[in-house]
């Protein structure tokens, strides 16, 4: 997708602001509240078509295939249930089991078909062009290229729609009969660009119910949007320019600067992605809809597993529900656990531990490999998956050893210094994993790591950081202060997860409240990296 396509309806544009105001006005003024959702559906498609008519085909394809597949599965399940009910007295256990198996086979076949079709499209669009180019380079055909434009938000709506079909197949939810209502769930515009990936039972009812304009909700929504804009424009986009300078020519910089860039990237990617999600959630909130939280202070995490439970929560939940559990709780995993437990090795402490945790850790590794591959085609993404999955696998497998060391060293694991150490250690591991985002290829990841750890040059690094990566001392100060603010807000939420800064602000006197909002808006206007003086950076996750 070209930049201009994204810009046509970027969250941070006058067009989008006008679009949102019009949508909200029409939505709340719509006379027949029962059909209010049609306004959202229309707005969502207008939003999507504004990015390019040709992309709408893919969205329509996913909507249609998942809608009809879910409907068919639902009907098959319902018929089976009805048959079982009708023959409750006459059928014996075996007959009932056979009926369930037949239904299960049928529905799973349909599920497999729709998954293959949709993930096949995603796979084709995302990876085939890269593979073709790589094959062309390998065999000397430089013309062997396939220029395909990745439709806007295809990963997010594909994941969401497939999650829905799986839920229907599992019998967790009933299929939606109204195609319009279902399409709204798939294409609801605030989540289309970069998520969060919502579940049908969490989002659909909200989309379809009546909503009346509520000043407090709208105000909270706008405040959240302001915070998202601050993160994106004041923090992420200032840092992005410097990071780009280094990643385009890492060989020109010292190991110290590369290390600094990794730290800067940790700040940038969090501010960018969480800022974008805040804006998406804020837009939904203005329209009366609560979308799930996608971040929960990830850099306060004490383990890598904890980190992934706090970062891109909706993707993690999707992976957990639809990939991790099916593997970890599969019959094969159960058989493995039983087999190890019954073996001589299973009689040892280590054997018993491994028998229990190994299926889960293997499932984790697979999940992270899939997440890595989802990020893109290339060895660095495989490395990304292997690093995260591998570290988690090792940490779980070696957990008894670590606990033993803690006991021997008499470390108080619940004390604050230990928690700080754990957070720093996790942050370090995350940063190492992030190098796969910064490097241009798999091999370069190792070069980055080697140079960061073996080619430290503080004098050169200090000079480069001051003069060579395009940030002025004032911009560093801005990033430092903004980063501290981000940390403070995260700290407040971490101390008391129920706290809402917006509610806290609401309890303050009028003058304080409005002064804070005014200062925040002024900070975005003055310090934001927007307009032609800056190279606009797209939201990092839009590309997925």
């Amino acid at each position: 997708m070209t930049e201009s396509d994204y810009h046509s309806m970027n969250f941070i544009s006058f067009q989008f602001a006008a679009f949102l105001v019009i949508t909200a006005c029409v939505y709340y003024a719509f006379p027949k509240k029962k059909y209010q959702w049609i306004v959202l559906l229309t707005a969502s498609w207008v939003f999507y078509l504004a990015a390019g008519v040709r992309y709408a085909f893919y969205l329509l394809f996913t909507s249609l295939t998942s809608y009809f597949a879910a409907l068919w599965i639902d009907r098959t399940l319902a018929e089976s249930k009805a048959r079982l009910k009708a023959n409750k007295e006459t059928w014996d256990r075996e007959q009932k089991k056979a009926q369930k198996e037949i239904t299960g086979r049928k529905t799973h076949r349909m599920l497999a078909l729709v998954l293959v079709l949709n993930f096949g499209v995603l796979f084709f669009l995302k990876y085939v062009p890269t593979f073709l180019t790589a094959a062309g380079n390998l065999f000397g055909f430089s013309d062997l290229t396939l220029r395909i434009v990745l439709p806007l938000g295809i990963s997010f709506y594909t994941f969401q729609a497939m999650g829905y079909v799986i839920d229907v197949c599992r019998g967790d939810i009933r299929a939606e009969r109204n195609f319009g209502k279902y399409t709204l769930f798939v294409s609801f515009f605030p989540q289309l660009l970069q998520g969060p990936i919502s579940r049908y039972d969490q989002l659909a009812s909200q989309l379809l119910e009546e909503h009346h304009a509520d000043f407090t909700r709208i105000k909270y929504g706008l405040e959240l949007a302001l915070w998202g804009l601050f993160k994106k424009l004041v923090i992420a986009d200032h840092a992005a320019a410097a990071i780009r300078t280094v990643t385009e020519a890492p060989e020109a910089f010292s190991g110290t600067t590369l290390g600094f860039t990794v730290l800067l990237y940790a700040l940038q990617v969090y501010a960018d992605f969480s800022g974008g999600i805040d804006i998406a959630r804020a837009v939904a909130q203005v329209l009366g809809i609560d979308m799930i939280q996608n971040f929960r202070q990830p850099y306060f995490a004490t383990t890598l597993t904890d980190y992934w439970n706090r970062w891109h929560i909706s993707l993690g939940a999707w992976m957990k529900n639809y990939i991790f559990y099916p593997i970890a709780l599969s019959k094969t995993a159960n058989r493995f656990t039983k087999a190890v437990k019954n073996s001589r090795f299973g009689g040892t402490k280590a054997g018993a531990h491994i028998a229990v945790v190994l299926p889960g850790t293997v499932a984790s590794l697979i999940v992270f490999l899939i997440v890595g591959i989802w990020h893109g085609a290339g060895w660095r993404y495989i490395l990304y998956g292997l690093w995260n999955g591998g570290v988690i696998m090792l940490s779980i497998l070696l957990k008894p050893c670590f606990e033993q060391v803690n006991r021997l060293c008499r470390i108080n694991t619940s004390a604050l210094p230990h928690r700080c150490f754990q957070s720093l250690r996790t942050f370090f591991l995350v940063c190492i994993g992030n190098i796969t985002d910064l490097a241009r290829g798999g091999r370069e990841c190792f070069v980055w790591v080697r140079r960061i750890f073996r080619e430290q040059d503080l004098v050169a690094g200090w000079y480069e950081i001051q003069n060579g990566i395009g940030l002025s001392s004032r911009e560093y100060l801005l990033l430092l202060l903004s980063g501290l603010l981000l940390f403070a807000v995260g700290f407040i939420h971490e101390r008391n997860p129920q706290t809402s800064i917006r509610v806290m602000l609401d309890q303050k006197p009028f003058a304080v409240r409005w002064l804070v909002i005014f200062l925040a808006a002024a900070a975005v206007l003055v310090f934001g990296a927007y307009g032609p003086g800056y190279t606009a950076a797209e939201f990092a996750y839009v590309q997925f």
């Binding site: 201009s4 006058f14 004032r474 909002i517 808006a521 002024a522 206007l525 003055v526 927007y530």
Partner: protein, 377 residues
């Protein structure tokens, strides 16, 4: 929504608009001499100017205070760097909205621009648009909206482009002080004067163009804009003198020579409409321009060239065109005398700059502070 809430929201929005507007007025500016020059033009007392010069940077070769001290008429260069013919009409309307000059001098180099380079060049367009009041921007915006250029919003609200000035406090400070200085003075004392003492020298042999009548067609869009401008001037029956200021035309610089040939074409077109055309390109010897010492770059005259050209043009306007200046009140006379005085100081000041300094001097707060310190001549 209650009335109280509406008032609160409106006050917040209003406060933000005020801050944005204030910042745009004083801090979020391009900080170019172009902006200040046009700002100064709008500060001139209404209908007080005898002559207004319209065009691009070539007119830097003219000094209004010097013309006043030599020939006694008041003038102002309504000049923006790289100002193309496409904007002349709107700019002339702006001039006529403020002044009723006895003569409008149009320098025609802006009609030699082409679509590829100058007519739609983003940077050049910002020079022009950033210097214009909002209502004129709305008139001028349409041809600027191309893929390569900044968005319409960035042209209409310069703050979108220049809000990053916070990163350069020195620049913000001078933005603020320059505007405040003009506001305190009540007018631009140097009246848009802008030049350097630097001499680039001759890069190759001067081309003899005295009897050269070679022509070259203009860019189609430029010619259409020129004809529309001429139609407008004829329709309004305006007293316009078209002219071309001298450039350093050498045997090896084809680009400047091509412009010269286009100037011949422009002369013919202007003639079709019955307006006078003074091609000073061919009058360099008569003006006394020394190609070796009087240019700070190949297309712009330096301080010494400025003095010679202004003397020639001012005399031409008074003697050949018979311009009789408006009657001035004592206050205006005092202000223009002050301008002449400051121009003399300006010349002395920049003559003290090192000969190899390519610095260009315009009416900024720091320059004026230095000029004020100098003794009266």
């Amino acid at each position: 929504m209650t009335r109280r809430r509406a008032v609160k929201i409106l006050s917040l929005v209003l406060a933000l608009v005020l801050v944005f507007g204030f910042a745009q007025m004083y801090f979020w500016r391009c900080n170019s001499h172009n902006e200040l020059r046009l700002y100064g033009f709008r500060m001139e007392q209404k209908d007080s100017l005898d002559v207004v010069l319209l065009g691009a940077s070539d007119i830097y070769a003219y000094s209004a205070p010097l013309a006043y001290s030599l020939q006694g008429f008041t003038s102002y260069p309504y000049v923006v760097s790289a100002c193309s013919v496409c904007f002349w009409k709107v700019m002339l309307e702006d001039i006529l909205a403020h002044q009723n000059p006895k003569l409008i001098v149009v320098e025609t180099n802006g009609a030699c621009y082409d679509t590829q380079r100058e007519l739609h060049n983003n940077g050049a367009l910002h020079y022009i648009m950033d210097s214009m009041p909002f209502r004129l921007k709305l008139q001028m915006i349409r041809p600027l909206l191309t893929e390569e250029n900044d968005s319409a919003a960035a042209f209409l609200f310069p703050g979108l482009k220049y809000h990053s000035n916070w990163n350069d406090p020195e620049d913000m400070k001078s933005n603020f002080l320059n505007v405040r200085m003009l506001q305190r003075q009540g007018h631009a004392i140097l009246r848009g004067t802008y030049t350097s003492r630097y001499a680039i020298g001759l890069q190759s042999e001067s081309r003899n163009i005295e009897n050269d009548r070679a022509e070259q067609p203009l860019d189609a869009e430029a010619e259409q804009a020129l004809r529309e401008f001429l139609d407008f001037c004829r329709e309004k029956d305006l007293p316009v003198l078209f002219t071309c200021f001298p450039h350093q035309i050498t045997t090896e610089d084809d680009e400047v020579y091509q412009n010269f040939k286009m100037t011949n074409t422009i002369g013919k077109i202007v003639d079709e409409y019955g307006f006078p055309f003074l091609n000073m390109e061919t009058l360099s010897d008569e003006i006394g321009i020394d190609p070796e010492h009087d240019y700070y770059n190949r297309t712009h005259l330096n301080l010494y060239g400025q003095q010679k050209l202004t003397e020639y043009l001012a005399r031409y306007i008074r003697e050949e065109l018979g311009l009789v200046p408006w009657e001035q009140d004592a206050e205006q006379t005092r202000a223009w005398e002050e301008s002449s005085d400051y121009y003399t100081r300006y010349c002395r000041y920049i003559e003290e700059a090192p000969t190899d300094s390519e610095a260009l001097f315009s009416e900024t707060y720091d320059l004026m502070r230095e000029l004020r310190k100098m003794k009266e001549p």
